[in-house]
C-alpha cells in the first residue's frame, strides 16, 4: 500500500482557492520533491497536510495507509506519523527546547499507552541525536527557537524529526535562509533519517537543496496543480530554464 495518497486535493485559504486538484502518491522509503515558484501553493500544501486551522479542504482527500486524515487534528496527525519541518520555525519564549521535545515524545508514548519517558534516558537519547546536527546543550536549554540563528532553527527542526521518527515528513523550504555550510549540515541530518519505512516530501524553490538531498521523484507545482513530474533530472532542467515554461512568470 502507498504510504501517502493525495487525491484531487482542493484547498482554500480565507475563501481563496490555492490548491486546485493535486494528485500525488508516495511509496514507503521514497523521497519526493516539489518545486515551484513563489505563490504556487507549496506552503499551503504543507499546512494542509499538517492540518493547520484556516486551511480548508474543499474537495479531494489525503490518505495515510489508505485512511483519510482530513478529520484529524494536527496533533493526531503527528501522532499518526506525520511531521512538518517548518519554513519559519516558531519561537516559543519560556518553553525550554528540552521541555518541548520531551512533551512531544511523551504525547506519542501516551497515545501508545506507554509510560512517560525517563528523564535520564531521554537526555541520553537526545545527546545521540544532537551530535550529528551540531545542536549544542546550550541550544537545548534555551527557549524553543528564541534567539536561534536561521541555521540553528532549521537544525532544530531536523532534530525534532530525528527524535520523533515520523513515517512521513514534509520539509517546507528547509533550505531557505541557509548558507552552504548550514545547508550541508541540515542535508546530512535529513539523509541520515532516510530509511525503507520513512518517506519524505521536500518542498523547495531552488534545485540546490536537491544536490544534497537527492530525490527519487520531482514534481513541479504551479498555480495550485502539479504540472510536471519526473526523475531527479527534472530539477536540473528547472534550474536551467526556470519556471517560465510552466504557466507562471519566473519569480524574481
Amino acid at each position: 500500500m502507498s504510504l501517502i495518497e493525495i487525491k484531487n486535493l482542493h484547498a482554500t485559504v480565507d475563501g481563496k482557492p490555492i490548491l486546485k486538484g493535486i494528485d500525488l502518491t508516495i511509496e514507503p522509503g521514497t523521497v519526493h520533491a516539489i518545486m515551484g515558484p513563489n505563490g504556487s501553493g507549496k506552503s499551503t500544501l504543507s499546512y494542509v497536510i499538517a492540518g493547520r486551522e484556516g486551511y480548508e479542504v474543499t474537495d479531494g482527500d489525503i490518505l495515510l495507509d489508505g485512511k483519510s486524515i482530513l478529520e484529524m487534528e494536527a496533533d493526531e496527525r503527528a501522532i499518526a506519523g506525520l511531521f512538518l519541518a517548518f519554513q519559519y520555525p516558531v519561537e516559543i519564549p519560556g518553553v525550554a527546547n528540552t521541555t518541548f521535545l520531551k512533551a512531544a515524545v511523551n504525547a506519542r508514548r501516551k497515545a501508545a499507552g506507554e509510560p512517560e519517558v525517563d528523564a535520564m534516558q531521554f537526555l541520553k537519547m537526545l545527546r545521540e541525536k544532537t551530535k550529528l546536527l551540531g545542536v549544542t546543550d546550550e541550544m537545548l536549554k534555551r527557549a524553543v527557537n528564541v534567539g536561534f540563528s536561521g541555521g540553528e532553527k532549521k537544525r532544530n527542526e531536523i532534530l525534532q524529526m530525528a527524535v520523533l521518527e515520523p513515517r512521513f515528513a514534509v520539509l517546507d523550504e528547509t533550505d531557505s535562509g541557509l548558507d552552504i555550510d548550514a545547508l550541508k549540515i541540515v542535508a546530512d541530518g535529513v539523509n541520515a533519517l532516510r530509511s525503507p519505512e520513512r518517506s519524505m516530501l521536500v518542498i523547495t524553490h531552488y534545485q540546490r537543496l536537491l544536490d544534497y538531498i537527492v530525490p527519487d521523484k520531482v514534481h513541479v507545482l504551479a498555480m495550485g496543480r502539479i504540472v510536471a513530474s519526473g526523475g531527479k533530472e527534472l530539477a536540473q532542467e528547472l534550474e536551467a530554464t526556470g519556471y517560465a515554461g510552466y504557466g507562471e512568470p519566473e519569480a524574481a
Partner: protein, 442 residues
C-alpha cells in the same frame, strides 16, 4: 451630594468604640490614640467608589454591602491543621494566623539568631513597646488610605520583625494567614512591621488562604523600613477562598544601597487589591516589584504599585503578568514618580496580560511622572491572546491542544516568576501556578 458619590460608608466604621475595648493592647495610651485617630479618619472617608481615580477599575460595592463582624468578637470554624496544599511550601520560622489571630499551636518559632526580634504583634505591644511605638503607623500617617486606617483602628495581631545592624535572619519567615469562616461574615486586619537595620538581611514569605464558603475580608497593612544596605526578599501568595475579599497595603522605605525584592502571586479571592508603595530614599537604593495574577470565574484581581524615586541613582524594576479566563477581571496600576532631584534614575516597568476568554477583561494603567531630566525610564503594557502559530507548532509535534495551551500559559507566567531574585523561592510559586493550570483543565 458630591461626597456621597465618591465614597461608600465603610464597614465597621461605627463600631470602633465598642470593638476597640477588646483589642490587644487596649488601654496602652499611644496605641489607643493611634487607633482612635485612624478610626475617626476612616469614619470620615468611608471607602472609595470608582469616582475616585485610584479606584476607577475596582468597585467595592459588593464589599460594602456585607455586614462584617470583626474577627475578635465572633466565633469561627474549627481549624486543627493548616491547608498545606493552598500555601507556599517553604521551610522556616512560621507564624500562623487564623482569622487574624495568632495560633501558637500551628506556628513554629525556632531559636532566633542574635540581633533578631520576631514577635506576634499582640505580644510585642507589651514586650517590645518602645520599638513598636517608634515605628507603628509612621509609614502610613501621611496618606489617607481608608483600608490602612481601618487596619490600624482594628488591628488585633500580626508580626513584628526587627533586625539589628548587620543581623541576618537565618531562615525565611513564613507568615500564614488563613480565613476559616462559616456563616457570619468576618473581617480581620493582620499587621506587619519589619524594620531592618543597616546591612541586615531577611526573607519573608506570606501565604494567604481560606477554607470554607463564608465571606471574609482580610485587610492587611504592612510597614517595612530598610536601613542602608539592607536586603529584604518579600514573596507573597494571595490564595484566599473564592468568597473572600483581600485588600493588602504595603509601604516600604528603602535607604541607600538597600534592596527590596518583592513578588506577589494572586490566584485566590473574589475581589482583591494588592497595593505596594515603595519609596527609594537613599542613593543607590533599589526595588523590584514583580507579580503575577491568574483569574477565572468572576474573580477581580487588582495589582496597584507606586514607586517613588526621591533621590538620585536609584533603580526600580517591575514585571507583572496576568492570565485571565472566563469573566475574570484584572487590574494593573503602576505609577512611577521620579522627583526633580532623582537624576540617573533607572526605572523599568512591564505589564502583560493574556486573555483566555472573550469575556475576560484587563485594565492596565501605567503612569510615569518624571521631573528629573537625566533618567532612564521605560514602560510597556500589552494585552493579548495565546498565539495561534505557537499552538499549531506544538500541535504539529503531537502535543494535544489542552496540553499545548497549558505549556504556553505556564511559559507566559514563568517570565514573571523568573523575576524573583531568589531562584529557590520560585519553586513553591511554580507549583501553585501548575496547580492552577490543572484546575482549569478539569
Amino acid at each position: 451630594m458630591a461626597l456621597a458619590a465618591r465614597s461608600y460608608p465603610g464597614p465597621l466604621a461605627n463600631r470602633h468604640a465598642e470593638l476597640s475595648l477588646k483589642l490587644a493592647g487596649a488601654g496602652v495610651g499611644w496605641l489607643d490614640t493611634l487607633r482612635a485617630d485612624s478610626a475617626a479618619r476612616y469614619r470620615a472617608t468611608g471607602l472609595p467608589t470608582p469616582k475616585v481615580e485610584a479606584w476607577r477599575y475596582t468597585n467595592l460595592k459588593d464589599l460594602v454591602g456585607i455586614d462584617f463582624a470583626s474577627a475578635p468578637v465572633v466565633g469561627d470554624m474549627a481549624l486543627d491543621s493548616l491547608p498545606r496544599a493552598s500555601l507556599l511550601a517553604v521551610n522556616g520560622h512560621v507564624l500562623a494566623f487564623v482569622n487574624g489571630r495568632l495560633r501558637p499551636d500551628l506556628s513554629t518559632l525556632d531559636t532566633l539568631p542574635a540581633g533578631v526580634t520576631l514577635l506576634p504583634l499582640s505580644e510585642a505591644i507589651h514586650s517590645d513597646e518602645q520599638a513598636l511605638s517608634a515605628h507603628l503607623g509612621r509609614l502610613v500617617e501621611a496618606e489617607e488610605n481608608p483600608f490602612v486606617d481601618l487596619n490600624t483602628a482594628l488591628m488585633e495581631d500580626g508580626v513584628v520583625l526587627r533586625l539589628a545592624d548587620g543581623a541576618v535572619l537565618d531562615k525565611p519567615l513564613h507568615i500564614i494567614s488563613v480565613g476559616a469562616v462559616a456563616d457570619t461574615p468576618l473581617a480581620f486586619f493582620p499587621r506587619l512591621l519589619a524594620v531592618l537595620g543597616r546591612d541586615a538581611r531577611a526573607t519573608i514569605f506570606e501565604s494567604h488562604a481560606g477554607i470554607g464558603e463564608g465571606a471574609y475580608l482580610s485587610a492587611m497593612a504592612s510597614e517595612i523600613v530598610l536601613g542602608a544596605g539592607a536586603h529584604l526578599e518579600h514573596y507573597k501568595l494571595q490564595n484566599e477562598s473564592q468568597s473572600a475579599f483581600h485588600v493588602a497595603n504595603t509601604r516600604v522605605t528603602v535607604e541607600a544601597g538597600a534592596v527590596y525584592d518583592n513578588f506577589v502571586l494572586q490566584i485566590g479571592s473574589r475581589l482583591s487589591r494588592n497595593e505596594v508603595h515603595t519609596a527609594l530614599i537613599g542613593e543607590g537604593a533599589s526595588c523590584r516589584l514583580n507579580g503575577a495574577y491568574l483569574g477565572a470565574g468572576k474573580q477581580h484581581l487588582d495589582s496597584t504599585t507606586f514607586i517613588d524615586h526621591a533621590v538620585p541613582v536609584c533603580a526600580s524594576r517591575e514585571v507583572y503578568k496576568g492570565v485571565l479566563d472566563d469573566q475574570a477581571h484584572g487590574v494593573f496600576q503602576g505609577k512611577i514618580l521620579v522627583r526633580r532631584d532623582a537624576q540617573q534614575t533607572d526605572g523599568h516597568q512591564l505589564n502583560r496580560a493574556l486573555l483566555l476568554s472573550r469575556q475576560a477583561e484587563v485594565n492596565a494603567k501605567p503612569e510615569l511622572e518624571i521631573y528629573a531630566d537625566d533618567v532612564k525610564c521605560s514602560h510597556g503594557a500589552t494585552v493579548g491572546e495565546l498565539a495561534d502559530d505557537q499552538l499549531f507548532y506544538l500541535q504539529a509535534r503531537g502535543i494535544d491542544r489542552e496540553t499545548a495551551r497549558g505549556l504556553l500559559i505556564e511559559a507566559y507566567v514563568q517570565e514573571a516568576l523568573d523575576e524573583i531574585g531568589n531562584a529557590e523561592a520560585r519553586l513553591p510559586f511554580q507549583r501553585l501556578v501548575g496547580g492552577w493550570l490543572k484546575s482549569r483543565k478539569g
